[in-house]
Amino acid sequence: MKRPPTGLAGTGALLRLALRRDRVMMPVWILVTALVVVSMPGALGSVYATAAERALAAASMNANSSVRALYGPVFSDSLGGLTAWRAGVFGAVLAAVMSLIIVVRHTREEEETGRQELLSAAMVGRRAPLTAALLAALVANTCLGLLVVGGLAGQGAPGAAALALALAGTGMLFAGAAAVAAQLTESARTAKGLTAALLGVAFVLKAAGDAGTAGGRSALTWVSPLGWVENVRAFADERWWVLLLLAAAVTAQVGAGYLLAGRRDLGMSFLPSRPGPAEGRLGTAGALAWRLQRGTLAGWSAGFLTAGAVFGGMADGTADLVGGNDRAREIIERMGGQGGLTDAFLATMAGLFGMVAALYAVSAVLRLSAEESGQRAEPLLANAVGRLRWAGGHLAVAYGGSALMLLLAGLGLGIGHGGEVGATVAATLAQLPAVWVIGALAALLHGAVPAYAAAAWAVAGSALTLGWLGPALNLPQAALDLSPFAHLPRLPGTESVSWAPLLALTALAAALTAAGLAALRRRDITA
């Protein structure tokens, strides 16, 4: 009988376990991502019916730095080319997030919860858990790639293959990055955060490179894996060799992951935890919430400030590239600006910060859920701590933290832009009511239906997708209006700001939060 190498014993069983545990999350994520990409040609075709319209649109997009920053340059004005432009980076980011979640979930999270110990005591090799996790990510990314190839083959088989490989390859690259991060830290949350931060850096680099230079030629773009996705030029003289870069990077990351995994003990990490104080100063539930969340908030805040400064630095020079192109102006105005193009660029970036801040708000609110299901809430609430105080502490961090992050992003934009700090801060802070609405929805879900609290991610994801892909697709206004971000004033650049929607959204957030807290007070604490 032939046996697998002992280091890999049990990989098959662990892979089946991983696929079984992810049997809902994985198919949903893959289908949604594939659907977003595959539906693009039809949606774009209804907006730009003729080749002439598409050519004009492509020219104006390429001339517009804020559009380039978000989506990259247009390399071909075919429907396939426009699809790769509009949904390529977005799809790659979705694949990356899915992959990093899968890998951390089946490696570090298993060790952190102690489940891996029981598994590893069985016939499971030292390298089996990591291998199984990477294979699970490979299965997911392969399925995504096949769906994309199948759905876009009508636009040209080579282009469809190139785009599918770029998306799946980016997924595997961040699976590899997550495999490394999972070795570095003892906390699954930190491992996911590190990998997501890397993804954020990749996006900022790509955006900065593309905003400043046309045609994806900037060195900054080439440093970023997300820049490779656009530089594969799917549906436009595919440059297959760029995929080799991706393959090499995946190999290097996975190799590093294995190297580190082979050199540590189960449950241990390369960034070991130090002893803490023998006596503590924490005395309230609010202080505990702050203590638990402050590190994450500091990371997000630093990221927002830096990204703001980078984007602010790019804001100049947006106006000269465009000239008198009406079409581009129209598009940008729909993207979120009404005045000068610099203002439009800053407004677009402020909107981007708002949507990302909503993701933070959801993660910070869902700490409540993690505390509860991790059985840490129960003994805490057995003390003289009311549920409202407990939840209020975490909500204060979530709502206040998103305010702080947006303030810093606005400061960064203003400083990078060289002035007008007041205007940029106002622009980013104007996003806050919509961010709070999303956070409040998470609070309501946790309060009312704790088992489905994670649906808050779907809410935030839908708002993000609507904001990201909606404006260029001629979606009905009613659909766009579902996102709270659709009701915000375009800042900077709007002369007379209407306060009514801001106040209405804030009131809505307050009402949803109150409803969530009321439901939390009435229900059982789940353990």
Binding site: E112, G276, A278, P379, D524, A527
Partner: protein
């Protein structure tokens, strides 16, 4: 005598599972009360209701004279709780958690905290994840015993403790009782229950099946007797309260209901006793009888339904 805990007819269902099915529990202030039952009998559910974490479907629960759901926060100032499986925040040290819990309970004794850390041999500077199971329990135990709480609710608090620490735990409970505090102790360690508890309640399938002092419970059980007699035994089997009589020549083995011992001994003495061994029931036997009754009850249920089926 004031009641620290008074529960009457408590019901709680999770979906179709009936976790509590008319539970009664009465704990007198100042006593150590054992709370026993097989796994899944509903002990932890009852404790969570008493802590206001779960809401009862019906029935009455009173904790220190208050409603555990409505008055949760003020009541918790007077209550300390140790769960059976303590989870700590990975980046907080044990000392920080002890102090946090102390403050959240409305005060604790610094000197007692230091003394307890010493006695439990706990390193308070380690971070949450690095503690072993037993050490995590110690963190919660130190926090509970250092508090000024008048009621301690301990849900299998010693799981994972070594025998030495088990001893420390027992002396801490004894000191708590001496200080006039009330303890509700859920435990599967019967020696612990035997040496600590003034009274016990045994629950099964969400219902109380037995409650009383250990002596009272023993009274309801059988003593095994084996004797060597001078003459042949006479009518032993027909005495009330005598079971499983086994006679081999002059040797007799039997089980006797403890409250019927008098008559049994008289009957034995009538035949002349050469040697006598009487073994009172161990606590183990006492509980096992209650625990295994469940399996018996299941069997009876099944045979009932079988017979019904066969009648049809």
């Amino acid at each position: 005598m004031t009641k620290a805990i008074s529960v009457v007819g408590l019901h709680k269902a999770f979906g179709r599972t009936r976790a509590l099915d008319g539970l009664d529990l009465s704990v007198t202030a100042g006593e150590v009360h054992g709370f026993l039952g097989p796994n899944g009998a509903g002990k932890s559910t009852a404790i969570r209701i008493l802590l206001g974490l779960l809401r009862a479907d019906s029935g009455v629960a009173e904790l220190l004279g208050g409603d555990p759901w409505a008055d949760a926060v003020p009541l918790h100032r007077r209550v300390a709780y140790v769960p059976g499986d303590v989870t700590l925040w990975r980046n907080l040290s044990g000392g920080e958690v002890i102090d946090l819990y102390g403050r959240l309970r409305g005060g604790f004794d610094r000197a007692r905290r230091a003394e307890l850390i010493e006695r439990f041999e706990l390193d308070p500077a380690k971070k949450g994840r690095t503690y072993s199971k037993g050490n995590r329990q110690k963190v919660a135990l130190v926090a509970a015993f250092a508090s000024d709480a008048e009621l301690l609710i301990l849900d299998e608090p010693t799981s994972g403790l070594d025998p030495l620490m088990e001893g420390v735990f027992q002396s801490c409970v004894a000191e708590a009782r001496a200080a006039g505090r009330t303890v509700l102790l859920s435990s599967h360690i019967l020696s612990e229950v035997e040496s600590l508890c003034d009274r016990v309640s045994i629950i099964r399938r969400g219902r109380t099946v037995e409650t009383g002092t250990l002596a009272e419970l023993r009274h309801l059980t059988r003593t095994s007797i084996s004797a060597e007699l001078a003459g042949p035994p006479n009518g032993m089997a027909h005495l009330p309260g005598v079971h499983d009589v086994e006679v081999r020549g002059l040797k007799v083995r039997l089980q006797a209901d403890t409250d019927k011992l008098d008559a049994v001994l008289r009957s034995l003495a009538a035949s002349g006793v050469r040697s006598l061994i009487a073994t009172p029931p161990t606590l183990e036997e006492l509980f096992l009888r209650h625990y295994t009754d469940e399996a018996d009850a299941d069997a009876t249920d099944n045979s009932d339904s079988d017979s019904e089926a066969s009648v049809r």
